[in-house]
Amino acid sequence: MNKTKGTISGINGNMISVEFDGNIIQNEVGYAITGDDRLKSEVVKIQGNVAYMQVFEITKGLRVGDAVEFSGEMLSVQLGPGILGMVYDGLQNPLNELAELHGFFLKRGVILDALDFKAEWEFTPVAKKSDSVHAASVLGHVPEGIFEHKIFVPFNLQGDFKVTSIVKKGQYKVSDTIATIENDKGDKHDLTMFFEWPVKIPIEFYRDKLVPKEPLMTQTRIIDTFFPVAKGGTYCIPGPFGAGKTVLQQVTSRFAEADIVIIAACGERAGEVVETLREFPEITDPRTGKSLMERTIIICNTSSMPVAAREASVYTAATLGEYYRQMGLNVLLLADSTSRWAQAMRELSGRLEEIPGEEAFPAYLESRIAQFYERAGLVEFEDGTFGSLTIGGTVSPAGGNFEEPVTQSTLKVVGAFHGLSRERSNARRYPAIDPLDSWSKYVSFIDNKPIQYAREILRKGNDVHQMMLVVGEEGTSIEDFTIYLKSEFLDNVYLQQNSFDSVDGATSPERQKYVFNFVYNVLTKQFNLKEKDEARNFFNKLRQLFIDWNYIDMKDGEFKKQEAKITQLIEENSDNAEGV
């Protein structure tokens, strides 16, 4: 095919205008050529014979008159075995391999294959000669980590085909031909174990998209018990800087009961990714016995990396997520931060001189956000199996004020809202999810009634607290005061959780059920506390014992002993202490 060529006629930041001759496609990739460097770019607007392209690299040194080569392909990723455990930039460039070749710095214009073309995989065929197949039909599988990585008929082939040949079980490289297929027009395709797919097009090869129901356990108590996330659902974590969005996503990426976790570090600090990058290979996933890295993919386009690639990075992440979902897995995509992605769109829109909306964000911000979260979902495949992609995104609102376009557009489409508050993070009440403002449309794994009761205590406790700030403690009845102490107790021992402790950092569903039930009994109990100081002392002691309890492994013998101590303290102060 004859590829279209063009020349640069203008440069404005990372945006170039290119006069071209021939045909091009919206979102087509092209390369701006300066010296020995080929700078990857994407067509974002076409007007007459001028293409506006965002350059995925620094444009320093580019000149008017420099050549641009179009590729004929939309911005795509490579899909095939060997993606798990990888660390990619926003365009699926493997960062470890780049580091080996070029050392400390990200050299401009270097593009490497996302997959390892030298590695061999043990392919087991499933399809047979003369089977009818189409896009996304399974040809066979290879083992990858603890999963069977399914090898599909490439998603971009249209129509029905027959398998004309397929290889026997054995060792193959991703680029080896493993099958040939042919349609009734006689079009033949040699199939390998990998293919490419454009990142901005959702992968939708399933029979049905279902309503997410089953909870996705994160092992963070306030989330699982009060504001749950569902497999195939969506949620967002807005919060001012430093409120704990990233730490919350980090513990989630570690402990969430998903098969695969994709971390999209989008326009945030490089240092934060490094923690994951260095620590995950060392951590054993208790559910699989293998290193956590084997179930993790990191897309890392941090804040000083090119802005246009940041815009692409969330799509790259979503595409990889959909690909693994297609294998019947539960995938969790964590994007930090979607605001940086939105800002990348804003920068682009500004350079295109589009009419700006609120806070200079483009008018299509809301629909882009909706489309992104729409890529999540619980789906049922033709063979009756299921897969899910769950998306959780952090939002970094300007000034910490949720009344801004990105937060508001996100809240309209997600299924759960974990709002972090400055007040709580300042008071070191971590995770700083505001229990009064947050919500979830998904159903908790714990019964609704006690949860509603606990939330009621939180609300009332807050009312009493607010009132006490006005009328003082002496103007508050002992009943109200006890409600306040109960709400503080619930907050301190259950909602708050020490993410950095090896035991308290993750609470299994089983333990959550057990402990929540215990807490619920305290909340409903009548205590024989007559004086406020007495009441405060009692709850101080109770909290102390309980926090110590939170730090004891449930399998440890001490667990029951500590529980007995707490029970005893409660009995001593209950209304029915003597008698029954």
Binding site: S9, G10, I11, N12, G13, T59, K60, G61, L62, R63, V64, G65, V87, L95, N96, L98, A99, G103, F104, F105, L106, K107, R108, G242, G267, R269, A270, G271, V273, V274, E275, L277, R278, T302, S303, S304, M305, V307, Q343, E347, G350, A360, S396, A398, G399, N426, A427, R428, L469, G472, E473, E474, K532, D533, R536, N540, K541, R543, Q544, Y551
Partner: protein, 433 residues
Amino acid sequence: MQKVYNKILSVTGNVITVKAEGIANEELAEISTSRGKSLAQVIKLDHDIVSLQVFAGSQGIATNDEIRFLGHPMRVTFSDDMLGRIFNGSGVPRDKGPALAENLIEIAGPSVNPAKRIIPRNMIRTNIPMIDLFNSLVVSQKLPIFSVSGEPYNELLARIALQAEVDMIVLGGIGLKYDQYMYFKNTIEEGGAMSRSIFFIHTASDPIVEGLMVPDLCLAVAEKFALNGKNVLVLLTDMTNFADALKEIAITMEQVPSNRGYPGDLYSQLASRYEKAVDFDDAGSVTVLAATTMPGDDVTHPVPDNTGYITEGQFYLRNGRIEPFGSLSRLKQQVNDKTRDDHRAIMDGLIQLYAQYNETEEKRAMGFRMSEWDKKLLKYGKLFEANMMDLSVNISLENALDKGWEILAECFTPEETRMKTDLITKFWPEEAK
């Protein structure tokens, strides 16, 4: 091949346009005007119309002034001879020393590959309890001091620079008041650190655009020294002036502002500077401390707000003290588990109690009766402020931790402190048991 042009098409703000061909994006040019020579940098190309920002400002530019394109982007010299020297925002000496022109390096180079970064691991001790105990500073951290103008943020920067155990100090002044510049110079000289320092100074009276280069100059030089094994501390004061210079250029270029006049890429612009902070495995490091003044003491102002989203924490300086709330070192957990068993618990415990003290203090101010508990908190708050927050306190971390236990024991019973029982057994002062 240097091209010379002498037809300026437009002058708007500090941006001029000329008709020229074959010019590269971000290339430098030299303009000769009646006021002397100034550097300018290409910021936009549209066919043969080239827009340049003029470092010395556009005052006095004549439409027939001569523009010579230099064929390269902004560069800076790099050598050991820079130590003890003072340069301006264009990288030209502002002391009386000789010009340095050998070994030129490009500024604003590529990012470090995240895969080559390592987890920060070394604490920088400052002997300031509000830092060492509550918000430990870590090698390779990027951290601003948020304050209103008038607070002693430059004094704090200078003190940290002198007390920190680093190999080199690179000071970048952006819109620095002359007396503050002199203050830094004298303090660093008196502290005996000038011979391991390099200054890039843009003062309040210098042309605004020239300040734009200062962070990149400092960071490019610091990065090179770090690659050669040096642990470098970069001080940038004041980054709000830097952001304001960006704003001015953006408005001149008729970019749609996103928030209070600042350009939509403010975040990316600031991030590309701060992210230069790094700890190179097997080599040195770059740590960045900046001053960010908050117009109107408003932390939601776009400059501190965007900065907070980029940096690894911040120190709030208010009423001459580092505020315990809001101040945060996000890297502290990388180091504060390797100091002493009780470090984290004391850090959290003291702050939670101080938060309660603040509530009580509010109630007291409103005239409410104080309970026994309130009275304890009031006593605690005073002791905490005097022994921990006061900036004149200059003690080691270990002494500060001991002090923390003393204060607790003076005010509370062990279980009122919420400390884990095993720590109480180990650290609760004997006399109080």
